[in-house]
Amino acid sequence: MSGASENFKLLQRAFVEVMNEKAQAALLEYPENPVYSNKHLHAMKRILSGKDKYLHAVSEIRFKKRFIAVLIAAAVLLVGGITVYAKRDVVTAFFEQVYESFTRIFYQTNQDEETSVPETIEEERIPVYLPDGFVLQEYESSMAHIRIAWKKEEQSIVFEQGTIADIHYLDNEHGEKTILTVDNRTVYVQKTVDEASYLWTDDEYTYLLSCTDTLTFDEVSKMIQSMPKGK
């Protein structure tokens, strides 16, 4: 073995030992069994199942919030808690009045119908098709909501699946609103100067797809069409 090669191997050994000693020191510093959060265990389960290959540091990406948060309390009142239709109508009217000034698109399933809709997300229905070059940046899921974000350079796509109890409000102050049909789905579209939002339902879940305006409607249609259909 030459001197240089021997030196190099010793350096390699030193680095390996340093890393192992760091690990050993950490074990000594934290001898107790760690208690992981449920969120972590859930995330690890997903990662190990191979579903989150392209997921990168979640904390890196912060998408601009463009929609008013889902009004859980309102949803509970409107969907779950009220059995007397007349009362619900009053509450509905109240909320419609409150948000009339800045909302236009308001979707909920027809509550007069006796339909059985899932109160939690029992099946993920998310687009299988993804435009070229987009990489998964963020995945969040809870019992009643899934949010996935992809990014390609400066372009972004955010997809959300919620239960029927979710109420989505779109900003009415800016942009142009249209209603389109994609694959027999009625899709509410709102476009602003640089962004577009698509809102629809399959009577089991609600879906919201928002993206930068560089994504063509053809691509959005393909995404919507690639989603598993409900009953």
Partner: protein, 191 residues
């Protein structure tokens, strides 16, 4: 569900990842926790670092050298997680193109000189102690560079770093290591 994300098609690979999880998850978490102990919400951040580390491991799975030497493999995973832990609080560094080219030249011609200058054969423990004193960012990148023998682009891909940052980190890491040793007034090296 999420078919387009499925990656580890090979069942053997999947089992291997699960085995890595079983064997190294806890130690990776604790190593990350030790790195982040002075930061707020250290335990949550450590979990995030571990998640990101596993994503990197899976993304880079095909290129991992599954050596028989368990200590080297463990060191590899530790280097990934400490890098991820530090990444959560990293600061951006800027470097000019001219400076980078200069450093690249320096790096290319000085790898052997660098190892020579360490005088590791003469005083192995002193060099090891100096490596310990490097910050984790340098340790992780230099580990990949010297132990895993990865080049700049490979390290950039593994750690999702800019190539220029990788080269700068290698160059600065080596400089710092020499500086630490020099400050310890070792004999004849560097003269």
């Amino acid at each position: 569900m999420l078919e387009f994300l499925l990656t580890l098609v090979d069942e053997n690979d999947r089992h291997k990842v699960e085995e890595i999880y079983r064997k190294y998850h806890e130690i990776m978490y604790k190593a990350a926790l030790a790195e982040l102990s002075s930061k707020p919400n250290a335990s949550y951040k450590a979990e995030e670092a571990v998640q990101n580390a596993f994503i990197r491991i899976i993304n880079y799975f095909e290129k991992i050298r599954f050596t028989e030497d368990e200590r080297t493999l463990k060191a590899f995973f530790i280097s990934i997680v400490i890098r991820e832990a530090n990444r959560l609080y990293r600061k951006k560094e800027h470097i000019s193109l001219e400076e980078l080219q200069e450093k690249l030249q320096e790096e290319i011609r000085s790898d052997e000189d660098f190892v020579e200058k360490l005088c590791i054969k003469e005083d192995y423990e002193r060099v090891k102690k100096a490596i310990f004193q490097l910050n984790s960012q340098y340790q992780a990148v230099l580990f990949q560079y010297f132990v895993e023998e990865k080049d700049g682009p490979e390290i950039a891909a593994l750690f999702d770093m800019k190539l220029s940052t990788v080269h700068t980190t290698i160059w600065r890491g080596k400089e710092k290591l020499l500086k630490i040793l020099k400050e310890e007034t070792c004999g004849e090296w560097g003269k």
